[in-house]
Amino acid sequence: MNKIKVLILLSILLVAFLLDIALGSVHIPLKEVIKALFNPDSGNDTWVYIIEKIRVPKALTAIIVGCGLSVSGLQMQTLFRNPLAGPEVLGVTAGASLGVALVMLSAGSITSLYTIKELGISGSWLIILVSSLGAGLIMLLIVSISSSLKDNVIVLIVGVMIGSITFSVISIWQYFSTPELIKDYLLWTFGSLGGVTGSQLLILSIVVSIGLLISFLSSKLLDALLLGDNYARSMGLTVKRARILIIGSTSILAGGITAFCGPIGFIGIAVPHLARALFNTSSHRVLIPACCLIGTVLMLICDIVSQISGSQTVLPINVITSLVGAPVVIWIIVGSTKLKGF
């Protein structure tokens, strides 16, 4: 049964990947896309250039973002035992943004898509490191708060507040910079899959792969945490060590992606629920790959929708992910009568 679901998802993934490359301000026929992918020397030079330099990196970024954010959301939901946890809800993306802003400002510049593009390889690593550290710090803060607060809803509210504080700090910095740079920053907050190319794409994929690997290797620990800390300990889990591992991989995933693509909302919170519903399981050994698959498909579809076919306009990716993700969140809240008792 699961095999059929995986096959269906994989075929949707393939179609979405090709469509994402074909559609955009310049429409490229599917046949040409396939030709360009497998035999780049033949065919229309402009199309090949667009496909190689813009569309393929963007589609690959969508895949990386879809996997990374979904899995980081899944890990957070299990760690906090809270169905509404996710990187953006608990302020983890905000922490990452703070890290990014910090690097930019100390370099006399400001966080923006364009300045990130200008970064060299060492700069890319630095920004991922700082952004992951920012994400990790916020996670540690929330974990320490949540251990003394038993109420899940309060933890969520505290997370949202910490996120707001972090964004306020960034905004104050923004206030002291020039209007052009503020515009850049605003664009960055809309999120974009388009800014990551070349060496940055390589770095991002390495970082996210490491995060996903750690996460998959800790799937047994995550399973034990489903019953809460006490039960996990009684089954022989060293809870502190497990937490550090999970917080670490979540921070790498959410931090790395936020550094390059901006804070992309709702994927992290919505996809794990879709994965649980579709595969009807709680085993992380199944859920982590499932989140990658569904997250990838969803991000590709969001990206296809964002570049309204045949038009020059490209909608910010965050707008689309919210349109898709928010209804899922509402479905979770309405469906879960025992939200507090998650």
């Binding site: 399973d223 006490n230 022989g236 399981t281 709680s282």
Partner: protein, 335 residues
């Protein structure tokens, strides 16, 4: 018993918790306790006397303030959490209804300490899970989500998970709380049976005094000050430990019946004649209505309970007058 090696032994164990920086508050101790295989041990005591703290300490969730805990002769401090998990399994009061877990997945989490790094279950794991399911009678819930279970069903499933962990000692913290009477009795009977049939030691805390007296091989009785008496249930009744542990105004443990009396002795005295169940319950009703029962026949208020075919009739003898009633309610109202 002395010949048998104890499964768990505590020596000079003082339990308690951190009450601020560098300050600790002792709840109970020093305790020298022994647990043997095949025993069902009930930990009884009033609320807040430290039952949960004791269970948490023994199971390794909490550090002792002083003293040692030995598990099969080895100091528990020297064992890694994974090793302890193969010896002790827990059923806690923590909420587990989350994370989209279905009953089978939850029970199979019991194999956690035994399975490999990815948690893949082997055939022998599955067999042990099936045995646990069978022993606890949870087979009919297997496909359901945990959050759809009733409290009683959930407790059974958590017990099945502990059984699947396949440890010589199972510790349960108030497993009968929130359960209705039939579920409570069912669960206690099940635990008693498991201890006998599987030779596991089962330690549980409970407020079910009468059930505990019936099924426990040993009772650990904690009183408010943290004092702990251990012994056979009957021993503890005979040596007055029960009366002492639950010593509170207006409540008296009646060693004659093994129950607590909620009613103060009545001012009016009455004598009841007649035998059988009807007389027994008539006495209960009279005590509730504020009478004390006298065994002397020469009381000037005497009620005789007798049979009239299928029904009981009550006759009040008062100053040589006699009145007869056909229902207990009428009779009580007349008094």
């Amino acid at each position: 018993m002395a010949a048998q090696k104890s499964l768990l032994h505590t020596s000079g164990l003082t339990i308690g918790y951190q009450s601020g920086r560098n300050k600790t508050k002792a709840v109970s101790g020093p305790l020298d306790l022994d647990l043997y295989a095949g025993q069902l041990i009930c930990l009884l005591g009033p609320n807040g006397c430290g039952k949960s703290t004791l269970l948490r300490t023994i199971s390794g969730l909490q550090h002792p303030l002083k003293g040692e805990i030995e598990l099969e002769g080895k100091n528990i401090k020297q064992l890694r959490p994974a090793q302890v998990a193969k010896k002790i399994s827990l059923v806690l009061t923590d909420n587990v209804r989350s994370g989209n877990l279905d009953v089978y997945s939850l029970i199979s989490l019991g194999r956690y300490p035994h399975s490999g790094w990815l948690g893949v279950l082997t055939a022998s794991d599955k067999q042990i899970i099936n045995q646990a399911v069978e022993a606890t009678g949870t087979g009919e819930f297997l496909g359901r989500k945990v959050d759809s279970l009733s409290d009683g069903e959930c407790q059974k499933v958590m017990l099945a998970r502990a059984m699947a962990q396949d440890t010589p000692l199972i510790i349960l913290d108030e497993p009968t709380a929130h359960l209705d009477l039939p579920s409570r009795i069912q669960l206690m009977r099940l635990l008693h049976q498991l201890a006998k049939e599987t030779n596991k030691a089962i330690l549980l805390s409970t407020h079910e005094l009468d059930l505990a007296l019936q099924v426990a091989d040993q009772i650990w009785l904690m009183s408010r000050g943290g004092h702990l008496d251990a012994g056979l249930p009957e021993e503890l009744i005979l040596n007055g430990a029960f009366q002492h542990a639950f010593d509170k105004d207006g409540i008296a443990f009646d060693a004659a019946t093994g129950t607590f009396n909620i009613h103060n002795a009545g001012k009016k005295t009455i004598s009841v004649t007649g035998d059988g169940i009807a007389a027994f319950w008539t006495k209960k009703a009279l005590i509730r209505s504020g009478f004390s029962i006298s065994s002397a026949e020469e009381e000037n208020l005497v009620v005789s309970v007798s049979r009239d075919g299928e029904d009981s009739i009550w006759t009040i003898h008062h100053n040589s007058e006699q009145t007869t009633y056909t229902t207990l309610c009428e009779f009580l109202n007349a008094l």
